[in-house]
Amino acid sequence: MFGRLTWDAIPFNQPIPLITSIVVLLVIAAVIAWITYNKWWPYLWNEWITSTDHKRIGVMYIVLALVMLVRGFADALMMRAQQTVAVGASQGYLPPEHYDQIFSAHGTIMIFFMAMPFIIGLINFVVPLQLGVRDVAFPTMNNVSFWLTASGALLVNLSLFIGEFARTGWLAFPPLSEKQFSPGVGVDYYLVSLQIAGVGTVLTAMNFVTTILKIRAPGMSYMRMPIFTWTALAASLLILAAFPVLTATYAELMLDRYLGFHFFTNDGGGNSMLYMNLIWVWGHPEVYILALPAFGIYSEIASTFSGKPLFGYRSMVFATLGICIISFCVWLHHFFTMGAGADVNAVFGIASMIIAVPTGVKIFNWMFTMYGGRVRFTTPMYYLVGFMITFVIGGLTGVLLAMPPVDFIVHNSLFLVAHFHNVIIGAVVFGVMAGYTYWFPKAFGFTLDERLGKWIFWCWFIGFYLAWFPEYALGFMGGTRRLQHIADPSWQPYLDVAMVGALIIFAGIVLTVVQLIYSIRTRERRLDLTGDPWDGRTLEWLTLSPPPHFNFAVLPDVHGEEPYWTRKQTALREEQLIEEPDYEPIEMPVNTPTGIIVAFFASICGFAIIWYIWWLAILGLIGAFAVFVWYAWRDEHEHIIPADEVRRIEQERRRIRTELLGQWKPVS
């Protein structure tokens, strides 16, 4: 009846997961009770859960990312603590079967459910605004994408309470992840949840490729798109090309595990090298799926806070597209030590180094964007400078790893782990934190506290160096990754410093929560009534903060690369706004519960597949399909915002802007 699911799946005899489970369940119960007590359910349901507004969906993605950051970081602290105490004679407090789940969950959660939703959330929120349009191409699909991602996150976290998670590392290499060596449900949790979340990710990419290619404000040609939008397009194209490979790879591993196929098994003609190749055909572009939008965020910030257009815009676009293409030609550098011939290794090594060229160009272009500017050192700018310094070190170690003869001695080492945390923290995390701070006032109408923001930056910056430079050194000492026990006592001081670094980063994460609460409580002092708190240059700063549901009362006419900046300067010089347009009613997509219901059935189906409860899996599939059919037969697609309502909102915006004409000075 219940497949493999029995009471043994609940970790009654393991204090750490049991206590964690109870605490998490209590927190969830408390949140639900709080929402119920305040009667917030109708508001949450109507304004958020069923929303097809790209801005609301973007915010929900970021909330998911922040929650998963806390979960993933808890894993990181447990790992660091284990390695600090499990040195020499001590075995530490985590047995291997538990420790191995923690590092697998850490990687999986941080990449798929922290970094990806954060980046996709920012893309969702910003791109339609930057394009000067009212929504994405497929608003309902956007909502479905989010809820499928959330469904994957739910299943991964469910493994903490029911059963176990994979003990194979975050990429689940076979044959270790095959049934023969991992008979438990851990790998199944991993595969099923990532398959569900992967559908959401691909749908998002389709949505943004379509939106950016087909829906832009009048006059916005490709070479007039803001650079963040360009990077969002590049990342979406990468997702479209790479994620199907991941889905196919996981499907093959699932066939092996569920139906006794032999894609990657030791016997029956299987070949585990195939998995290694396929997973990295996805895995290396994935790095750029995360990094390119982060580069886009830095470009926007460099330009805005230097008071200058981005230096070398065309170079930046070509560099972005160059990285996009080359990133598919380098996957083999993840396994130079697999025994390929010298020619193959050398070609892939050099191809990998070539990525450093466009990336280096970007660094220099940010530098020259600041050159001749009036640099305002706000929190996002701290992240930009901190990133530029940190990232060149990550680039150096990356090129070292791309040299086959060097990789032969640092492959899979703590040096490698330090390298990818150097680029993921130094580029992606700094980038999303900068973007979060930069666009927060656009989303909510008030800025985040700057002083706390800088504290958070310093925690991440110092914490990163303390946590990861010792790991670089340990890599040179022959330290390999994923060790539940450290045999060599001479590593102790390095591990201790790394632990201190992790705790400092933890302080930064705590401060992020403090900053959010503090900024909400003191929002009256930091309201952004202008819609343009940073003296911005791209179209998202044209509209109100927070923007109305339809973003723009009239789609802006685009002439040139910086339409909003030009328009603002003209208005300031002429001391009048552009002529008031004729207002027309606006059609906007209606809310839909499709996403959350589909995700509900997908979660049920996924859970049932993990536990071999086949009747429930079929019910889940039928449910999801039925929702799809029901949605396809809907009558009502759009609701109309009357012209008077549009006029009221736009005239309010014009009133504010007219007031500003006297206060702001044009740039000479």
Binding site: T337, A356, R482
Partner: protein, 308 residues
């Protein structure tokens, strides 16, 4: 006394050499303290490449901070140029610097990949010693086909002599790695990889698995004893007194265990490695007593043993 002071000198020199480059890594083991030609060559490429790139990135870091600071909003002396957004000359330079750096490093990578190809035999006047490596859950089995002996978690090699390894796995993937000797390589089930290493300094070095292979992974450590050729010959001869590694013993050995103490088998089937690669069980009787033809399948093994 003599050896001790030499050892001290060696350490001192090494620390002095490494300290300016990597302040943190004043280590006494690991890849910065190579004991053979492969590791030394790789360390040299590591240091040279790092130096080349530092010559680019240190000025870049200084310039980043310098430009950001000089052009701060409050600095009245900095000239504001709000329209400075393109310069062909600067574009040329910013593309040229990374291109030239990568061309130089790419050359090093191309030559290095060929010189240090793990499968390439090392140049030496001495004929190589052959060792077959089998990773198991979670220990290392080393078979000396020429000597007819085998060891677990203990590798004995003669100094100044190339050692030619064939490697495979009886279970999941692992990586065979002796940090102080250089190049690591995967051990993969049903496939054989090749590796050539040499130790030039006598001593005891540690070996590890550098690819996560399951719960017992941290215990997959082995000791590498680099001894004089005479000592090696003597050790191999004396090792014959140990128990035999036959089908039954091998089956026992394959059962998962970790942190396994070093152990020596007095005899081992020189074809054991091929059986593991082919995914076939060892014949129950020692092959010495029966003609080998009965045990060799007329068909080639089903595994992928053509991976170099």
């Amino acid at each position: 006394m003599n050896t001790r002071s030499r050892h001290w000198n060696f350490r001192t020199r090494r620390i002095i050499a490494a300290a300016p480059l990597l302040l943190l890594a004043a280590c006494n083991r690991g890849i910065l303290a190579p004991v053979g030609p492969v590791g030394s060559a790789e360390k040299m490429i590591l240091i040279n490449s790092t130096a080349i790139m530092l010559a680019i990135i240190i000025p870049t870091m200084i310039a980043t901070i310098g430009i950001a600071w000089w052009f701060r909003a409050g600095n009245k002396r900095a000239k504001y140029r709000p329209d400075f957004e393109y310069s062909g000359a600067i574009e040329l330079v910013v593309w040229a610097i990374p291109v030239m750096t990568v061309m130089l490093l790419g050359g090093i990578a191309w030559i290095g990949s060929h010189d240090l190809d793990p499968a390439k035999p090392l140049k030496s006047a001495n004929p190589p010693v052959h060792v077959d490596v089998v990773s198991l859950d979670w220990k290392w089995l080393f078979i000396y086909p020429d000597q007819g002996i085998a060891t677990v978690n203990q590798l004995v090699v003669p100094v100044g002599t190339p050692v030619s390894y064939r490697l495979t796995s009886g279970t999941v993937w692992n990586v065979f790695f002796i940090p102080q000797m250089g190049t690591m390589i995967y051990t993969m089930p049903r496939m054989a990889t090749r590796l050539n290493l040499q130790a030039d300094k006598p001593g005891v070095y540690e070996g590890i698995s550098a690819h996560f292979s399951g719960d017992g992974f941290p215990g997959m450590r082995f000791a590498v004893h680099a001894v004089s050729p005479a000592q090696f010959t003597a050790w191999a001869a004396s090792a014959h007194s140990g128990p035999a590694l036959d089908a039954q013993t091998f089956e026992q050995l394959q059962k998962p265990s970790s942190y396994v103490k070093p152990f020596t088998y007095g005899s081992a089937d020189p074809k054991l490695f091929d059986y593991v690669v082919a995914g076939r069980a060892l014949p129950p009787v020692s092959p010495k007593t029966t003609p080998p033809a009965q045990h060799v399948s007329p068909q080639p093994p089903a595994g992928h043993n053509n991976v170099r």
